[in-house]
């Protein structure tokens, strides 16, 4: 057995020279904190998406040609539906494990973007985007936008009523682009809504263009990470000039494989037990039908909330119109994501003046201005998300949508400022006290005084805990 292994290794090495490269690679050290695994969760969701997605592609038909439904789902018998919708129903009701694959795919998409967001927060709040990692930050932002695009195009493919309404809103948003809006929209959709081409075009984006970019950039993202080596938190023996952790083989490989398996396990459980996007209930999209409540998938929910909050102001200049949709759907995301994307440069130009290379991470408290800005930004988006579900919240809390909207409009003006100030103050005081909030007791040394009482002194957090 071992000689067979040795022989195969020799075979490959003689042709590709892999042995020495592999040895160096397998001995690479990666630091061991749990928060460094968040990006891997996103990566493994992507793996699940690719595998389940490939399966779905064998059954999905990206055509809006009308067919008559004659499958086992009673309420739709005899209805005229599009071939796309029909193919998704067939997959859900007539293909063994079809519904499981569809639901796993959709849950994986939701968790994928959630993992990216939480990974982005970790990078942001620990300052991991500082030199030399600005490029990887940009690649990461691009991955976020690609993930949003993949999600939106994906859930619009079944041509059901709920996602079709979302497409209609997307059409209106692109129309609202000043000057070129109508042209861009007609080129994208192939004409006036609901132009028949849009489903098949979304299919091309979802299955070919966006995955190619996504996978290519993910590979680049990981390559840059390996090249620059991972960052690490401060601690015993850790400096700016080394990496302390576990080697790629065997420890990190085992851990990553385990995380891959557990990620897939959680997604499989959700895919089997919790229903998601039951398109047969919504019915085929028709441009004059509507259903309530109507929301997009969660990662577009902030945009939905922004549209609900957005003031009803349209502008007319010299006979040309700027739609009221412009402010929440084009200007706001442009500014918010623009600031986020350019944050490494904004921070060092206006806040820290720190142009040095960093491989040791900050704790959030170490950079109060950055943490406060991040918290305020999250508060803005949190308010948008709440407003996006305002009708569901209204039923839950027995409040009118009018009351919720007015309250959240005020909140949008006040809460982010308050959040910034409070977070800044908390960070500064934590920084001064040098105590870690999660180890508040471990950080104190209890001593008996000569007089007979007790006193506590803070333990030096960089010293060896006993």
């Amino acid at each position: 057995m071992t000689t067979m292994l040795e022989r195969s290794l020799k075979y490959v090495d003689e042709r590709l020279g892999t042995a020495s490269f592999a040895r160096r690679a397998l001995r690479k050290v990666f630091p061991d904190h749990w928060s460094f695994l968040l990006g891997e969760i996103a990566l493994f969701c992507l793996v699940v998406l690719v595998f389940t997605g490939t399966f779905l592609t064998f059954f999905y038909n990206p055509s809006v040609r009308e067919v008559v439904y004659d499958g086992p789902y009673e309420p739709l018998r005899g209805q005229h539906v599009s071939a796309a919708y029909d193919s998704v129903l067939r997959l859900s009701f007539e293909v063994r494990a079809g519904l499981l694959m569809r639901q796993v795919h959709h849950w994986a998409a939701l968790v994928f973007v959630a993992a990216i967001v939480i990974h982005l927060c970790r990078i942001f709040f620990t300052g991991a985007f500082r030199r030399p990692r600005e490029v990887n930050w940009l690649i990461g932002m691009a991955l976020l936008f690609l993930a949003l695009g993949e999600g939106f195009t994906g859930y619009s493919l079944p041509d059901d009523l709920l996602s079709g309404i979302g497409l209609r809103i997307f059409y209106s948003v692109t129309l609202a682009i000043p000057v070129i809006g109508t042209w861009v929209t007609y080129l994208l959709f192939g004409g006036e809504f609901p132009a028949g081409d849009i489903i098949s075009r979304l299919f091309v984006f979802h299955v070919m263009l966006l995955p190619a970019l996504l996978i290519g950039l993910v590979v680049l993202h990981i390559f840059v990470l390996v090249l620059q080596k991972h960052t690490q938190f401060r601690g015993r023996g850790r400096t700016e000039r080394n990496v302390v952790g576990k080697r790629l083989w065997p420890e990190q490989t085992f851990k990553s494989v385990s995380l891959l398996l557990l990620t897939t396990a959680v997604l499989a459980l959700l895919g089997g037990l919790v229903q998601i996007n039951p398109v047969w209930q919504y019915g085929q999209f028709r441009p004059f039908d509507v259903t309530s409540p109507a929301q997009p998938d969660w990662y577009i929910g902030w945009l939905d909330g922004a549209l609900r909050l957005g003031p009803p102001w349209d502008l007319t200049l010299f006979g040309y119109t700027i739609s009221e949709v412009f402010w929440p759907a084009i200007l706001f995301p442009g500014i918010a994501f623009g600031i986020l994307t350019l944050w490494p440069w904004i921070e060092r130009r206006f806040f820290t003046r720190d142009y040095a290379e960093h491989h040791l991470l900050d704790l959030p408290r170490d950079a109060p201005a950055r943490t406060a800005t991040g918290a305020a930004g999250l508060m803005v988006f949190f308010i948008m998300f709440l407003e996006g579900g305002n009708d569901i919240l209204g039923v839950l809390l027995n409040l009118s949508v009018e009351a919720i909207t007015r309250d959240l409009q005020w909140a949008l003006l006040i809460a982010p400022v308050v959040t910034w100030l409070v977070t800044f103050w908390v960070c500064r005081s934590l920084k001064r006290s040098r105590v870690h909030p999660a180890r508040i007791n471990a950080g104190l040394r209890l001593r008996r005084t000569a007089a007979g009482g007790y006193e506590t002194t803070p333990l030096d957090p960089t010293s060896n805990p006993e």
Partner: protein
């Protein structure tokens, strides 16, 4: 004393390893059993919930076992690796610059006209490659400003059945289309029967309301285009489910709450000699959300 403590620690470690080994073995066994179960379930017809749970157990059993192995059964130590300089240094960059500019450099300066023409040709190619993009869709033209409604066209419901003054009970509403264009996305309109005398429209708009009770508005929300399908009978208002814009039916579908800025365009209606409802023309304004040249003819 230290030796004893070390031996103690060694024994603990082995006990800890033994526990982890047993747990990992159990986890892998669960995975195997779940795998068998999955085969049985699949070949006897399949069931989504059971399939999901069994897949979870296979993957979870494996995952838990591998994690236990990683954390307890590997002789893992902390390792340290030195970082290397990332930069190639000034010398390295200079060498790269030389390699790049060696042959081309002098040529670049001497043949500047050629270089400019090269740039021009490249630009022409770039633009030419973009041309097929324009084939992706038609020019907008006037299509966003017009719908199929014309003077004299009969009003029908989505099945094509004619609509007349008795079709809608008081405080009722239905979705209507121009005859021959049932289901049309931009022509969709709401016909609402309000009590006599309750409408508060200017006189020229009242001319498009037969009997002063049957008023029609575009169903496309002027905010972001969703169909405004919710009619609230007590307040006589229309609510759009997408972003909660609300329109006052009695006052020309003017928005009184929410992000919509403009009222739903009214469709002027009349009655023909047979008593059927007809349109008296297209909507008074372009329907749906705003766009750049909406105000231009």
């Amino acid at each position: 004393m230290d030796v004893d403590r070390d031996r103690e620690r060694q024994q603990e470690r082995t006990a800890d390893q033994r526990r982890a080994e047993r747990a990992a073995a159990a986890a892998f066994t669960v995975a195997i059993l779940a795998g068998v179960g999955l085969f049985v379930v699949y070949f006897s017809g399949g069931q989504t919930q059971v399939e999901g749970v069994l897949f979870c157990l296979i993957l979870g059993g494996l995952g838990v076992g591998v994690a236990l192995w990683a954390n307890h059964l590997l002789g893992a130590h902390e390792a340290v690796e030195e970082r290397h300089e990332l930069t190639s240094g000034a010398a390295g960059r200079e060498a790269f610059g030389h390699a790049l500019a060696e042959e081309v450099g002098p040529t670049l300066a001497r043949r500047s006209v050629l270089v400019k023409l090269l740039a021009g040709a490249g630009g022409a190619l770039g633009l030419a490659l973009l041309l097929p993009v324009l084939s992706l869709g038609p020019a907008p033209g006037r299509t966003l400003k017009e719908t199929p409604w014309r003077r004299g066209i009969r009003v029908v419901d989505e099945t094509g059945r004619q609509v007349n003054l008795n079709s809608v009970p008081e405080d009722g509403f239905i979705t209507v289309f121009p005859e021959g264009h049932e289901g049309s996305a931009d022509a969709q309109a709401l016909l609402i029967h309000v009590p006599a005398g309750s409408l508060k429209l200017p006189p020229d708009r009242m001319e498009g309301v037969p009997e002063g009770t049957h008023v029609a508005y575009s169903k496309i929300c002027t905010h972001a285009g969703c169909p405004v399908g919710l009619y609230r009978a007590t307040t006589r208002s229309l609510l759009c489910p997408c972003h909660q814009s609300q329109f006052d039916v009695l006052r020309g579908a003017k928005p009184f709450f929410g992000p919509a800025a403009r009222p739903l365009p009214q469709l002027p209606l009349g009655v023909d000699e047979q008593g059927a409802l007809i349109a008296l023309g297209d909507f008074y304004e372009p329907v749906g959300p705003a766009f750049w040249d909406r105000g231009k003819p």
